[in-house]
Symmetry: C2
Subunit: 335 residues, 2 copies
DNA sequence: TTGTACGCGTTATCAT
DNA sequence: ATGATAACGCGTACAA
């Protein structure tokens, strides 16, 4: 068994309530006594029993994160940042990799102060609806529009921003690299943004411009790009890439094939992370910076915890971060 | 606030201690009363308060997993399996992505029953040593030999097995693909196994045979393999690949270059996962199957929890899984 | 300034 | 078969 405040009290020759006050740094305890108690606590390696505390306080200073798809890397950076930020507010983050329903139950039993759910689909969420969670829940990145309190990123708008910018600097033939398979509904939003924006500008879309990468790994981007550039005449003056890793692959291909960026072709990458380190060229990106997402999620969680009330869905708007992978297009191909 | 047993008691017109017994399915409660109580509990959506329970029982049926490197995919499959297995024993798994020291503190405060630490290096572990954890700790995959209770995999022996097998079927020129950078100490163990085994057999090693992939992604294996096979004369009759993704890359390269496996060259891959799905050829692998690792870890955790005593380090021995990527070598190059 | 007593939700022990 | 009550470790209102 661990050390309790009673053990400390005995050692210090005071009552255990005094110890409790001292450790919580209450002004109701004299400095010398406080110092002494704290010293003894450290000596004994005292760890406050959160269990007992949260029982009496009805607050555990703990946030539960539901993380059923641990095997996907995508949002792991995000959760790392959220964890750090919550820690600064002296909250502890606990992850569960169970299915949504069972994770929610667990966190309710554990009496966490709030639950953050990552990237679930609507079906799964609906299944968990009958559980009346005492603990407030916040969803991130769910795959369909939703009536549940949600924070998400406007991926569609992101790609539209990219198209608009490229249009503004003279590009008319704009290609899109992305995984278009049915399962990747996040990717699909990006594709829709591309299509919409192109149509709005009356730009033609053809199969030469839509490049399915058939996967989201670096290698997939690399292969797609190699085949793309093997065309006699490259069918576009600009590329929009649907994800970080794809972009890395595209850049490896352009380096290898000595396709100059941005001289030969412009490039914009979808990205939240903004850490294209060790890479030949810093690409122009579009997306919601991960720090902004994290900050907003943290704030919302703290809000939910203190007010018990959740204002509904928040959709974060993306921004364009200009670097040197884009250049004006002055070719005759302009209409 | 949530529903408590007292709420149920009021509804059912019994005392709350009867409710407690009924919900724990005690034989001391008459069937009809029990049924009634359970029904009401379900109606109200009652969730037992683990906090209170673990306070009195001094047991939380919870295992804490320290997972500081969430951004690396490697052991995520493993943890998924362990989670499932612990669940079958009605234990809940909770992850922390904090630094080791702070995670251990957290789990102690939370009064979990055991802590499982993933893939930390010795420095980090030493730093946490001064914390006298009330909760028993089990380490997995730490990067140096250790005095702490540990379960790990014998990577060195795995690669030796591979070399030995290839030797037995007539290969003398055996190449090794792996990331040899200083930071990858797990990879290094594999390289050492390769070197040792080759030396034991008096097989010569030269730079043509040791292929640093400079990364562990599919793409890295692909590139390394392409350059490897561009040699006029391929310098080996067999390849040992240091990891799953590298192997996938190598296979893509051989397919592309029409290098027949195993006709032209034999291949053995290091692997725990054994799920080379969607791949052209099922390679022969060597390693400890992930299910065996998971099972052993789960067992050890449960043991530790019940006995409070930990028998020291367990090193799991790898096995060879023969598939069709190897073939006897009958060339003259045999000594 | 310090100590006493009660309550948080649950389980376990003892009476009834 | 059921109910009353103590205990788990802590925080806090109130008494000293």
């Amino acid at each position: 068994m661990g050390i309790t405040i009673k053990d400390i009290a005995k050692q210090a020759g005071v009552s255990y309530s005094t110890v409790s006050k001292a450790l919580r740094n209450s002004p109701l305890v004299k400095e010398p006594t406080k110092k002494k108690i704290i010293r003894i606590a450290e000596q004994l390696g005292y760890q406050p029993n959160i269990v007992a505390r949260s029982l009496v306080q009805k607050k555990s200073y703990t946030v539960g994160v539901v993380w059923p798809t641990i095997e996907r890397v995508a949002p792991s950076k995000l959760i790392t940042i959220i964890n750090e930020q919550l820690e600064e507010h002296s909250y502890t983050t606990l992850l569960s990799i169970n299915k949504l329903e069972s994770a929610i139950k667990t966190f309710n039993r554990l009496q966490v102060d709030a639950i953050l759910v990552f990237g679930e689909n609507k079906d799964e969420i609906d299944k968990s609806k009958h559980i009346n969670s005492t603990v407030p829940i916040l969803y991130y990145g769910i795959k369909e529009d939703s009536v549940y309190p949600t924070i998400d990123v406007n991926r569609r708008l992101a790609i539209k921003l990219a198209v608009d910018y490229l249009f503004k600097i003279g590009h008319r033939n704009i290609a899109f690299f992305g995984d278009l398979s049915e399962t990747e509904s996040l990717q699909k939003q990006k594709y829709l943004g591309y299509k919409e924006a192109m149509e709005e500008r009356n730009l033609s879309i053809n199969n030469q411009l839509i490049i399915p990468t058939n996967g989201l790994e670096l290698y997939d981007g690399y292969l797609a790009a190699k085949s793309f550039f093997s065309n006699k005449k490259i069918p576009a003056t600009a590329i929009i890439s649907g994800s970080y890793d794809l972009t890395r692959g595209i850049l490896r291909a352009t380096t290898e094939l000595k396709v100059q960026i941005p001289e030969k072709i412009s490039l914009i990458s979808y990205d939240n992370i903004q850490q294209f380190e060790n890479i030949e060229i810093q690409p122009t990106t579009v997306g919601v910076p991960i720090n902004r997402i994290a900050k907003r999620i943290t704030e919302t969680l703290l809000e939910i915890i203190s007010s018990e009330e959740l204002n509904n869905s928040i959709i974060l708007d993306p921004e364009l971060s200009l670097f040197d992978s884009c250049k004006e297009n002055t070719e005759e191909s302009q209409v």
